[in-house]
Symmetry: C2
């Protein structure tokens, strides 16, 4: 799940706030990292451009320099991208492109409620492990004239290789959790070939693991009923592993259970790079008002550190964030509070 | 939304219980129809076979005779199909096939909570209008060997024609509701061609309607955030129109909001035929125990009648079902009660 701890002299972090509230929450995550002091190597930040607004100004949503610069970084934090409100020729989502360019094949999204009492088990405590490079996100689409008007076709790609590596990631993550349960999310009752391959490939992993995954319980759920049960009995889930699009939908659904998308972090992880990213979007409705919830971005920074094997530093952040949520005094409007982004950040920093 | 009321002498209803609790709830729906008396034409029932169990016995999930017999019926009720627990060569879901064979292009799924007081507005009152013939359900899948193992590809088809007719259906349904709002569910920030076509085709409908849809408010939501907001603020939705797979997921998600999948009805509707179908599955875990909730099937019968223009009869059923739910005395275990299917049916019949 995490990289070897080659003792690093410094940590080079690419920062891509991109659009909307991405520009408000990424600076908060940065300041949290800076406040960690000697728990992590000396930080070096690299400011990088991408996003829909950049596209409208320059015609490019993801400049080649950004991709190249990221390759020189140890890790990165990404904010959020706006979606064009109508079809814009030549525009393609930079976050989807980055995941592919850097082969960040796993999108790891832990969704956990904060129990009132720190000793209690939260009622929601799951991780969505979303395949991040294929499914309908390969964006192979064609438009052709047909007998009765236009016809559009998209390809949904599922490979054995990608299914196996995301499955292994899910098993590894499950090994590190008390319940040690993996639930495969699929729709193989309709997509018997593509989702059939996804499901069977993951089912076959334990056998080839030389006993490593013997303690992991393997379950499965069809995606529609998985979402239904997620709302009704979220406690049945531990690690949910899903193809790209189902993972996208499920993680938003799970976020609704813990009070706000503004709380849910993620990392996009590959074998050599990790990029933190809050699960929320660019939120054009509240952009620029200083009331965006910085906690998802701050938690994404923690998750990124955890992935780089700085568990103690990550724990410090998570503990501080959980305290702020538990105390309930300094919260942004999405959580029913009236505090500003800055005030929430300060509350976290004080508890670090 | 509904067929011309060519005064029918009799109503020929195909019954396809199929698998699992389908066999327990379809008889309950039949008995409800039979209890309506002179509000509807003389009923004639035709028992028909289909399902996964039939497949395991005979090698056919949907016999040609069933399809032919349905073509002689005025309408039908379908129960539920079991999903094979592993890949079964040659098996393909009969419900998906039926929707296509009979060109039942719209899957209409009203999801409404029953307010405590009959005068109050329920907090959830929406209709999912799901395109029912294409998207990934065209089941064009191929498996090929690749450089790093197997590769599977599925085609997602979205046509202008199907998008327009489902869009029109959504507008028509909205016209008949107090809020008159249609929300297009899509993911055109990633699938700019396929979902772009779906979205744009529906956006273009009002212009070509000669004013018919002027009073309908048109909104849109990206599918992941649509599911999030469905949980957080279901009252923002009235009519949700969606491509096939999103519609499948959204309707299950919405069902979670009203207490049980066992309450949510649907019809599969085409221009010449309508087939009621509870949204729930075959529920192998409770099959044969006589505790399946018959209300979704009973409501599906009402919805079918409504579609055939027997609104008064449909209203009688819906009112009786709502009373049973509101009273809360006779409910199956999925709703926290301890009554049997038969008892719930009797309670409905008594209130008809
Ligand atoms: C913005 C969009 C392309 C993206 C996705 O669909 O992956 C977002 O919803 C997410 O979950 O990160
Ligand atoms: C059983 C399955 C093929 C079906 C579907 O996916 O359409 C079911 O989930 C439904 O919603 O009717």
């Amino acid at each position: 799940r995490s990289f070897a701890t080659a003792a690093r002299q410094s940590l080079k972090v690419g920062l891509i706030p991109a659009d909307g509230i991405g520009r408000e929450v990424i600076p908060a995550a940065r300041r949290t990292l800076e406040a960690l002091g000697s728990d992590i190597p000396k930080l070096q930040f690299v400011d990088l451009d991408a996003g829909f607004e950049l596209f409208t100004k320059t015609g490019t949503a993801l400049p080649e320099e950004t991709v190249q610069a990221l390759k020189e970084c140890d890790c990165a934090l990404f904010g959020a991208v706006s979606s064009p409100s109508r079809k814009v020729t030549g525009y393609s989502s930079p976050i989807v492109a980055l995941r592919k360019e850097l082969d960040l094949y796993a999108n790891i999204r832990p969704v956990a409620a904060v129990a009132e009492n720190p000793e209690d088990k939260p009622n929601v405590d799951l991780v969505v492990v979303r395949e991040n490079t294929e499914c309908l996100y390969v964006k192979q689409e064609v438009l052709t004239p047909g007998e009765h008007g236009l016809e559009a076709r998209a390809t949904r790609l599922i490979t054995e290789r990608a299914s196996r590596r995301i499955g292994k990631m899910a098993f590894e993550i499950a090994l590190g959790r008390p319940r040690k349960q993996v639930t495969i999310i699929h729709k193989s009752n309709v997509l018997s070939v593509t989702d059939g391959l996804f499901r069977q490939t993951i089912r076959d992993i334990p056998q080839a693991s030389e006993g490593r995954y013997d303690g992991v319980k393997l379950e499965e759920q069809i995606v529609d009923s998985a979402v239904y049960r997620l709302f009704r009995e979220p406690q049945i889930y531990d690690v949910m592993v899903a193809p790209n699009l189902y993972g996208d939908i499920i993680s938003d659904a799970a976020a609704a259970l813990v009070g706000s998308l503004g709380l849910v972090p993620s990392v996009n992880a590959g074998d050599n790079f990790v990029m933190g990213e809050p699960v929320h979007g660019s939120a054009p409705d509240i952009e620029g008002r200083g009331i965006a919830n910085p906690l998802a971005a701050i938690r994404s920074a923690a998750l990124m550190l955890r992935h780089l094997n700085y568990a103690a530093a990550a724990d410090r952040i998570d503990k501080a964030v959980n305290e702020v949520i538990r105390e309930g005094q300094v919260l942004t409007p999405d959580l029913g509070g009236s505090s500003k982004t800055e005030e929430v950040l300060d509350a976290v920093l004080k508890r670090l």
